[in-house]
Amino acid sequence: MMKRKTRTLIQDSIVSTMAIGFGVILIFPLIYCLAGAFKTSYEFLTPTLLPGSFTYLDNFKEALVKGNLLRYTVNSFIIALFGTSIRLVFSILAAFAFAYYDFKFKNLCFFLILGTMMIPADVLLATNYLTVSRLHLLNSYVGVMVVSFVSGSQMFMLRQRFMSVPKDMREAAQIDGYGDISYMVNVLIPICKPVITTLFVHSFITLWNAYLWPLIVTASSPNMRTIMVGITKLNSWEDENYQLVLAGVCISLIPSMILFIIMRRNMRRGGMDGALVG
């Protein structure tokens, strides 16, 4: 019979080794991307992983200047920030209504909204394009953002969270003199901050990384492209510049990373601690 301590040690080592293995697999593309971004075009063709020097910044310069990535970054940032914020506002309001109000056809409405989650976004590409073009919103920020203003899944997640907040909380606020909107702003949203932050980060990154929709909506106006579209334009079949693309990818990762690091603390659970008994 093996000692319990030894057994635990062996189990732990196996699990740790596997975890490290998966970790390496996950992080390798990032390392490859980062290393590739610092390579000269000659180095890129050699089979070494690391570049000759991490101080070679020409790829970044070229991507930002020649590829107009600075402008694209700003575009992406505006679209992701406003798209996400407006989407969250709509989701919060809708979720509040579904969580707290009773109205006719509530369940029908709710399932209709949930039904939209089952339609793949790509299916709607053509019809959305037609709608946006008839509204004369092509090549504009609003045109890129407008399709992401509402999100059934975000509404659903927020509704579930709101419903888990005890109704006493709302009643206490009512007695304290707070109406629905001020209750939402002063109590509900702060309590649900972890979920809302998570949804914000997730939505921001999704919009930041969007490719197909921004590509077709901004096709005729190069200045309105987003960074993801811009990166692909750094490379063409007559001029293969993969190190430029990798530099572009590195640049595009920065805002998402910063956002994630800032918001990570808020995403932790535990918003309800101490509100109730026990």
Partner: protein
């Protein structure tokens, strides 16, 4: 600081459309005995009471009796189906909770978890646009009364149950409401803390002059806290009275059984009128009804009939003589000062409370389970109830 009057208050919960009937036997659900009409389930009806300024009224009853619903109607959290609610002489049926100038303490505290204790207490004041200094003064004053000044900067999660309870009360008293509503505020505390908080509530009540309406299912809380008690069952008021009245002169069998621990014992007996005087035939023993009750029963037009006889456990006493009713001792519960004997008498379980020690402070050890004992009671300790309606025959 206001009178509250409820006139003919009625609450009907409309049937929820589309809700499937649960597969429970009717008696499993709380409030299964509530009246059901075409319009829905009647949770409260015929509720009439005039609560005086600064009075402490306790609504008490088993779960599902409508006591919380009544409180929530006073608070404005539930709509009143029928009847009129006046606070300080003003009809408030259609007013929002915030305009009724009431404060409420919830059973599970409902503190705002993201705010400090200070902010929790100041939250309501901020909406009423008091100046910053005034808010600060009021919060500190309330915190001082409740002894939570040192926790003002903490968040609710770092407080113990008793401290959270105090904050919840603090949040209510800080704005000096016309009336203070409490919905089973102590039911989540452990027994020791509950006793302590109960005493504190009594002290608190002397410090803040306001009308209290308190809901509980615990009859000890009702007896100790209330100026008046409202005993409820199945949506109806059973009795309104001072704790002493409710205990001494229960209006019916339900109230008699609900108020007092251990519960009152009930026996089948027969009321007999002999030469103009009533006596109770209890298992072949004839016990005369005391004069006062006799007079009242006469006035009530009571006739000879089978009745329910109620006897409180502590009014039964052990006797050595064979001439008294005999019972079989089931379980003996040593409570310290008292001993609770669970007896079996004619197939019924009854409880008898007796002293654990004799006059010389020696433990009486003769209460063994499985033995037989004789018991008796005094005529003045009898409660007589109508066998059908459960009404007290002597009030």
């Amino acid at each position: 600081m206001a009178s509250v009057s409820l006139r003919n208050i009625k609450k009907i919960y409309p049937p929820v459309a589309g809700e499937k009937k649960k597969h429970l036997s009717p008696s499993d659900e709380p409030g299964a005995n509530l009246e059901k009409t075409d319009r829905g389930i009647v949770a409260v009806q015929n509720f009439n009471i005039e609560i005086k300024d600064k009075e402490f009224v306790v609504l008490v009853g088993p779960s599902g009796c409508g006591k919380s619903t009544t409180l929530r109607m006073i608070a404005g959290l539930e709509e009143i189906t029928e009847g009129e609610l006046y606070i300080d002489g003003k009809l408030v049926n259609e007013l929002d909770p915030k305009d009724r100038d009431i404060a409420m303490v919830f059973q599970n505290y409902a503190l705002y978890p993201h705010m400090t204790v200070y902010d929790n207490m100041a939250f309501a004041l901020r909406k009423r646009t008091s100046s910053k200094e005034e808010i600060d003064r009021k919060v500190r004053e309330a915190a001082d009364i409740l002894g939570i000044t040192e926790y003002l900067d903490r968040k609710p999660k770092s407080l113990s149950g008793g401290q959270r309870q105090r904050v919840a009360i603090g949040r209510a008293i800080v704005r000096n409401p016309k009336s203070m509503l409490m919905d089973e505020p102590l039911s989540n505390l452990d027994a020791k803390l509950r006793n302590q908080m109960r005493a504190e509530l009594i002290r608190l009540r002397k410090k803040i002059n306001t009308t209290f309406i308190y809901v509980t299912h615990d009859q000890t809380e009702a007896m100790t806290l209330g100026d008046r008690i409202v005993v409820m069952k199945d949506g109806f008021i059973q009795q309104i009275g001072t704790p002493q009245e409710v205990f001494d002169k229960p209006s019916n069998q339900f109230v008699a059984g609900f108020i007092g621990t251990p519960q009152m014992n009930f026996f089948h007996a027969v009321l007999i009128e002999e030469n103009g005087h009533f006596c109770v035939d209890f298992d072949g023993f004839k016990v005369p009804v005391v004069d006062e009750d006799n007079r009242r029963m006469k006035a009530n037009g009571v006739k000879s009939a089978p009745i329910i006889l109620g006897l409180r456990p502590d009014s039964l006493s052990l006797v050595e003589s064979d001439q008294y009713p005999i019972a079989h001792v089931g379980v003996v519960e040593m409570m310290g000062t008292n001993v609770h004997l669970h007896l079996e008498f004619k197939g019924k379980d009854i409880i008898l409370v007796t002293q654990a020690k004799d006059e010389n402070q020696h433990l009486k050890l003769d209460y063994e389970s499985d033995s037989m004992i004789h018991f008796s009671f005094l005529p003045q300790s009898m409660y007589l109830f109508d066998i059908e309606t459960g009404k007290n025959l002597a009030i």
